[in-house]
């Protein structure tokens, strides 16, 4: 009797133990193992879509790439009133190297790069019909991200010799584990630009002319135009911009306000002049320009009279501001679910006009016509050729693209000043995030940090 009890209890205990052992194998339900993620064509396609999600994150094209540049490049035209110390530091041009925002932007950029490197590593399984498109989109993202990283974290192209200045590390293969090989060094500025141009050129060649709201052939060309302009390579810039304009895929909206449609509660589709925009839906991604510029949101950035004084009378863009509680705010970013505009067609006209003007060419059209296209849309009288000079073109560019993240990079390109700081001041360059220099001793810190 007693023995039976012992046998029964022991058996009971062992049976439960054995049964439970199987329960030790548990699989996640909202993730999959990496070795199963990119085995199929559809797996690669969804990973590509995920890369857009990462590059469209608020820390990157979701707004901060432009927003931080606006704060860093401002000298008296806007006022930062916000509580984020990290942004106050940018506005004050006194960034500590441990700034968490500077680190987050860097991390987000490289996250997107790893996403597309994964996609590029698995092209062989992609259906033949989609293969070129997938490669093109991935390279568009990679080229664009490297371009913006090198602009924020390294010396400008025209600051000394770009072949000697440290740029950002070029990582072109996916990360599947961490070894010492991941402690990369900074490539030179020129090497980064070369990679950017290579990726974007490849992308332009492989992408289709239409591709919904995803990157197209012309999105790649437009980004190339921007890259060439930044390098002062007007010959290539004018050609690339011209390819976008002459594609006939995009038209300027009839009014300036029409380029920035607003809705308080629903997503707004791209406009006819959006060449590439991050899609913000009510449930995915957010628009950080809206977060900080809009009085309906935090309203942390208001516009000073010095900026408002730059517009001519009758300029529709001058009217595109709103006053709330005595402060003036731009209406460009007044819609919570607006797509984040990365490139608009208007910029292509401005690049073509400036480049043609400098080169004394008329690729596509005359600079005068291009500039007048932008002016008349905003209700301004057309200029005459006698009234057109480089300063007029640059002012038109400044006003048209204000608060869209261009100011800092234009000042560097044109070798101007930010207040008393010269264009090449180390204070106008982000530090390499301190967490990076700690995690990777091979990274050299920027001058001045």
């Amino acid at each position: 009797m007693k023995k039976k009890f012992i046998y029964i209890s022991t058996a009971f205990l062992l049976i439960i133990g054995t049964a439970c052992q199987k329960k030790l194998d548990i699989n996640p339900t909202s993730s999959i193992d990496q070795q199963n993620a990119l085995n199929t064509s559809s797996g690669v396609l969804t990973a590509l879509n995920g890369a857009y999600f990462d590059v469209g994150n608020a820390w990157f094209y979701g707004g901060d790439i432009g927003l931080f540049a606006d704060l860093l490049g401002d000298a008296g035209e806007l006022r930062w009133n916000g509580t984020y110390q990290q942004m106050t530091q940018m506005y004050n041009k006194a960034i500590p190297k441990n700034s968490s925002f500077v680190a987050s932007q860097w991390l987000q950029g490289y996250k997107a790069i790893n996403d597309v490197n994964n996609v590029l590593s698995a092209l062989s399984v992609v259906d033949a019909t989609a293969k070129d498109r997938v490669e093109g989109e991935a390279k568009f993202i990679r080229g664009s991200v490297y371009f913006d990283l090198v602009r924020m974290y390294a010396k400008a192209w025209n600051d000394g010799n770009p072949a000697n200045n440290p740029g950002v590390p070029l990582v072109l293969t996916p990360t599947t584990g961490i070894t010492d090989a991941n402690k990369v060094t900074r490539n030179k500025v020129s090497e980064v630009y070369d990679q950017v141009i290579k990726d974007l050129t490849d992308a332009e060649a492989k992408l289709p002319a239409t591709n919904g709201f995803y990157a197209t052939k012309y999105a790649a060309a437009a980004m190339l135009a921007r890259v060439y302009l930044q390098k002062g390579d007007y010959t290539n810039a004018v050609q690339a911009a011209n390819r976008v304009i002459t594609s006939g895929k995009y038209t300027l909206t009839s009014t300036f306000a029409g380029a920035f449609p607003a809705s308080a509660s629903a997503q707004v589709p791209n406009t006819s002049e959006d060449v590439f925009a991050i899609q913000v839906t009510t449930t995915q991604l957010s628009n950080d320009y809206y977060t900080f510029y809009s009085p309906s949101s935090r309203g942390d950035i208001d516009i000073k009279p010095a900026h408002l004084a730059l517009y001519e009378t009758g300029d529709a863009r001058k009217a595109f501001f709103t006053t709330s509680g005595g402060s003036v705010y731009t209406l460009k970013h007044n819609s919570r679910y607006a797509n984040v505009r990365v490139i608009r067609l208007a910029e292509m006209y401005l690049i073509r006009a400036e480049s043609n003007f400098r080169l004394v060419t008329t690729v596509g059209d005359t600079p005068l016509n291009d500039i007048n296209k932008i002016r008349t849309r905003s209700g301004l009288p057309a200029l005459t050729s006698a009234g057109l000079d480089l300063n007029k073109i640059l002012m038109e560019r400044k006003l048209e693209l204000a608060f869209e993240g261009q100011t800092l990079h234009d000042i560097k390109r044109l070798q101007g000043n930010v207040g008393l700081l010269p264009w090449n001041s180390p204070k106008l360059i982000f530090p390499i995030p301190e967490r990076e220099t700690i995690a990777n001793a091979n990274l050299v810190q920027n001058e001045g940090y």
Binding site: F5, N49, I178, T283
Partner: protein, 1029 residues
């Protein structure tokens, strides 16, 4: 049946032992009241013979002639007696530390025989503490147990550290077990302010809390034991007349401390000073022809803003309105608790039925908690070999919560509002910020920030929890000394969070027509324990107890949430009415643990003690390669006073030396941490998307802590003075570490087994019965613990900013720039460079923050913690005073970067100490020049580090128990009235709110000791009554 049992026992004994057997009989009564005591355990010392007293207190037991009988009963001092006939035994209520029964994992031990380190807090100490969760009630009562509540929000996360932090990236909280079953401690809060599921447990249901501190005690829990184990035992019924207890208390709570902010006059003067400071900087930066032009521009900007924040009128110029915003963040906070318990039973069945209702308002606006709990514990002896039982509790709570500390809507961020802003906007007659007459909507830039009062008026965040926690068990006596126990436990937790932010909250929520949120979480935690217990005595001097069995736990969490916006009106608060869906999610996660364990306790001649234990444990959290781990422990003890050579030393009543060693593990990491993963959370533009989310680490395994403990327990003068001293080391290796990897990889961290850390410390507990008079009694209990935590190896890593994990330092030390005050020449914030030059720190200063080196500027870990309790009683009067404190830790007051910030953040109201800001060349001050919107010394630095040591009068209870003569006339068995104060006084140098703080939104293992608009602790006074029928 009883007779049959006795007969069996008798027969067994007869067959087992050759010496003569005697039938001992008698009756056990309460020494005070003379009432019979049923259910008293009668044991023959050093034999496996025992019985229980019957309903009339009588017993009958077969005992050898030369043996000793021991009578023990919970809550009474045990009595020894020689066998005999018609013995009259009376038991005195009270507890003798040495003979108390201590719950250990899968069993119990006599305190005297314990070789590990176990702290015990009993019901008497816990009872009626006016707090939400029991962890608060043990603060200061157990040596080496650090309890820190993040702040004064109700049901909030509480940090408990037993002998320091053993891990950097894995969990550091102890393992909680209720009646043998591991319980859910998952924070399920969706708003960034953690909540603790332990708050669902009614502290008055708890009979005792045992804290297993060293490895020899905790290793039976193997992979879960590294952070110590907290065993909670709930109350059980006792055979006898059914006892009915009623308890009630009611009272009020207030914040412990409040700092001072500027009034309107100080504010306006200070801001004008800041505008001049900013003008000087503007001029330096260029763009102005003269200094005066720059200052004029800043001044006109300032006056326009002051006008705005003064509700558009010039009252600010005369300081007519001076709003004390801080006081508006707090509310009147009554608190009441009702208890009703019934317990009793007979020799077959015992039961405890308890119910409680807690109705508590938080000290902070909008915060309140209502909790209903019920418990049924029943045990039945089916026959002489089988007993079965159930311990079951349910709880329902409704916690009306507020935002985390980092939100504009959290009430205490109200202190940022300008004192010149009126509480009620005179232009509208509504709360400031509620209505902009120009738009008909809430204001977007008046007051300076979103007014948290609007969230009070139009927002809600309600968390409802339904919890069922319990187990069923069966106990089979197989043969004398051998039994088998099976337990099946279940912890089921369902939580619903519902939030609505109405139209008034537009500036904060970003939605004109309201936002709503709803989340549901469902946890099912199943556990089974099946084990043998065996105890035997042989050849008179050998005593052996052994336990062996298995344990399995499976935990599954299913969650879903949905958010929406745009509601027809604020009357509609459910998402059915939302026009737009803004977020949705559902997820599931799961883990399981399987373990086999064994333990043997051997005692020789009541002098020499040896305990061995081991557990072989597996978890789903680890990869196939490293799934199983083995956790052994050993300990020895020597009760020296049992030796003959000490028998004549009368003053020394007890001396025990003990030592232990053991390995414990830590597996508190993500459920799928070893895998390389792509997550499916990356849809874009309406199409699904995936992205890499985790780098694989197939070699991931347990983190292991090797602990040693050496201790001595001394009792002198008949144990009137008893001292327990322990020295321990805990060395953790293969730390589960979120290693920072180069971000260029696309990842920022990888979980690896890297590094070592150690905790070393000393603890002592001194209990004294200072005066033991007939009428007046005074006893004291003091505990003290000093722990030194040090990270010895992190593979060259440094993790975190400000609070860091760094080699050679304690976990979470503040590592940043050392602030040097204002430059006397120009008011710039200065920092010590602290660069190493020839092995010495360069003590010159710089105004360039980036040129200063990071150094250790503070430590959030206290050097030592202590508690000191004194109990005085005179007749029915009793006064109990508990002092509690921590010493040597620092807090970083992150809110200072806004509220003590030289106007750097613009128009935030400032703490009054900022009035000492630099004004003129030559001024020597620690407060840099005020400069509107210019960051002048507000980066992380020692400027915001403060000593957070404190000594608290933690609990004072004055009670009066009615004399028996009166209660018997009233036909009740007892009645007690009391007045109790919790956190009555706090002595500290900390300048802001309460020094016991950790900002809820940022709290992690590493990020400790932060204050960010955090709600201070509550000071509570209640009056109460306990009546027993």
């Amino acid at each position: 049946m009883t007779k049959l049992k006795l007969l069996m026992v008798a027969l067994l004994c007869t067959s087992q032992f050759l010496w003569a057997q005697n039938q001992s009989t008698g009756r056990v009564v309460d020494a005070k009241t003379g009432t019979p005591l049923p259910g008293v355990t009668v044991t023959v010392k050093n034999r496996n013979i025992n019985t229980l007293t019957n309903a009339d207190g009588s017993f009958s037991i077969n005992a050898p002639g030369k043996s000793t009988l021991i009578f023990s009963y919970v809550g009474y001092l045990p009595v020894e007696s020689a066998p005999g006939n018609a013995l009259g035994i009376s038991l005195t209520p009270g507890e003798n530390a040495l003979s108390e029964i201590v719950v250990v994992g899968y069993g119990t031990r006599l305190r005297k025989d314990i070789t590990g380190s176990v702290a015990r807090v009993s019901a008497k100490e816990l009872a009626n503490t006016p707090v939400t969760s029991f962890e608060n009630a043990i603060q200061g009562r157990a040596a080496g147990v650090l309890v820190e509540q993040q702040g004064g929000k109700l049901g909030q996360g509480i940090k408990v550290r037993i002998r320091g932090s053993a891990s950097v990236s894995a969990g550091n909280e102890p393992f909680y077990v209720v009646d043998g079953i591991p319980v859910v401690t998952t924070n399920l809060s969706s708003n960034g302010a953690p909540t603790s599921p332990l708050a669902d447990i009614n502290p008055n249901d708890i009979e005792s809390i045992e804290i297993l501190k060293d490895a020899s005690a905790a290793a039976i829990y193997g992979s879960r034991g590294s952070n110590g184990v907290v065993l909670i035992t709930t109350k059980k019924g006792k055979a006898g007349k059914t006892k009915i207890d009623f308890g009630y208390y009611t009272g009020n709570q207030k914040p412990t401390r409040m700092p001072e902010f500027m009034n309107a006059q100080e504010y306006v003067t200070y801001m004008r000073q800041a505008a001049v400071g900013a003008g000087k900087q503007d001029f330096k930066a260029g763009g102005y022809a003269t200094l005066q032009a720059a200052i004029d521009a800043e001044n006109s900007f300032l006056e326009s803003r002051l006008l705005r924040y003064s509700a558009g009128n010039t009252d600010y110029q005369t300081y007519k309105v001076s709003t004390d915003w801080q006081s508006m963040a707090f509310q009147d906070a009554p608190m009441s608790q009702y208890d009703l318990n019934l317990s009793g039973g007979n020799d077959k069945t015992t039961f405890y039925i308890g119910g409680q209702y807690l109705d508590q308002a938080g000290i902070i606006l909008r915060n309140s908690l209502k909790r209903y709990t019920g418990r049924v514990n029943v045990e039945n002896k089916v026959n002489d070999w089988l007993s079965v039982g159930i311990n079951m509790s349910f709880a329902r709570s409704l916690n009306k919560r507020i935002s985390n500390d980092n939100q504009f809507s959290t009430p205490l961020q109200i202190v940022a509002l300008s004192p010149i802003t009126p509480a009620i906007d005179p232009r509208t007659g509504f709360t400031s910020g509620a209505l902009d007459l120009a738009t008909g909507l809430p204001n977007t830039n008046y007051p300076v920030y979103y007014n948290p009062m609007l969230s009070y008026e139009a927002g809600l965040y309600n968390t409802t929890v339904n919890r069922t926690l319990g187990n069923v068990f069966g106990n089979v006596s197989i043969t004398r000394g051998l039994s088998f126990r099976t337990e099946l436990g279940m912890d089921q937790l369902n939580q619903n969070e519902e939030s609505y932010n109405g139209r008034l909250t537009r500036r904060n929520s970003g939605a004109t027509f309201g936002t709503g949120f709803n989340a549901g979480d469902q946890i099912l935690n199943i556990n089974t324990n099946n084990y043998f217990r065996y105890n035997t005595h042989f050849r008179e001097v050998h005593s052996l107890e052994a336990t062996a069995g298995m344990s399995y736990q499976n935990y599954k969490l299913q969650s879903n949430s949905v958010s929406g916006r745009d509601f027809p009106s604020d009357d509609f608060k459910k998402l059915q009415s939302a026009a737009t869906n803004t977020a949705y999610s559902s997820s599931e996660t799961q883990y399981s643990f399987l373990g086999y364990f064994a333990r043997a306790n051997y005692k020789y001649s009541e002098k020499y003690l040896l305990a061995l234990s081991g557990r072989y444990d597996a978890s789903s959290r680890f990869g196939q390669n490293n799934r199983w781990g083995f956790f052994p422990a050993a300990s020895v003890g020597w009760i020296v006073t049992e030796e003959n050579f000490l028998s004549h030393v009368n003053w020394l009543s007890f001396l025990k030396l003990k030592a232990s060693w053991g390995l414990t593990g830590n597996a508190e990491i993500g459920n799928f941490a070893s895998r390389g993963l792509f997550s499916g959370d990356a849809s874009y533009g309406g199409n699904p998307g995936t992205r890499p989310s985790q780098i694989p680490n197939p070699d991931l395994k347990w983190e292991t802590t090797a602990s040693t403990d050496a201790g001595v327990e001394i009792g002198v003068v008949k144990n009137r003075i008893s001292l327990e001293v322990d020295y321990y080391t805990r060395k953790t290796k293969d730390l589960l570490l979120n290693v920072e990897v180069p971000g260029t990889s696309g990842f920022s961290t990888q979980l690896r087994n890297v590094g070592n850390l150690e905790n070393k410390g000393i603890e002592f507990t001194l209990n004294t019965n200072n005066i033991v008079g007939k009428k007046f009694k005074w006893s004291s209990s003091m505990n003290f613990a000093a722990n030194k935590n040090k990270i010895t190896n992190l593979g060259g890593q440094q993790i975190g900013t400000l609070n860091v994990a760094k080699e050679g330092e304690a976990l979470g030390v503040f590592y940043s720039k050392e602030f040097a005050g204002a430059d006397p020449a120009n008011g710039d914030a200065l920092y010590y460079k602290n660069t190493l030059v020839n092995g010495k720190r360069d003590r010159t200063t710089t105004n360039d923050y980036n040129l200063a080196e990071n150094v250790v500027i503070g430590d959030p870990n206290p050097d030592f913690i202590y508690g000191f309790r004194n109990n005085f009683s005179y007749m029915g009067l009793e006064l109990d005073v508990l002092l509690q404190g921590v010493y040597g830790n620092e807090v970083f007051a992150g809110g200072g970067q806004y509220m003590s910030a030289s106007g750097s953040n613009g128009f935030d109201n400032q703490t009054r100490d900022q009035l000492a800001a630099w004004k003129n060349p030559g001024d020597i001050t620690m407060v840099p020049e005020a400069r509107l919107f210019y960051a002048n010394g507000v980066n992380n630095s020692s400027r915001y580090i403060y000593d957070a040591s404190y000594l608290r009068v933690k609990a004072v209870t004055l009670s009066y128990t009615l004399p028996a003569s009166l209660t018997s006339r009233l036909k009740i068995s007892s009645a007690k009235f009391y007045l109790r104060g919790q956190n009555l006084f706090t002595f500290t140098k900390y300048p802001l709110w309460d020094p016991e703080v950790n900002a809820d939104y940022s709290a992690t293992n590493i990020v400790q000791g932060r204050d960010f608009y955090s709600v201070p602790q509550a000071k509570t006074i209640v009056i109460g009554v306990n009546i027993s029928l």
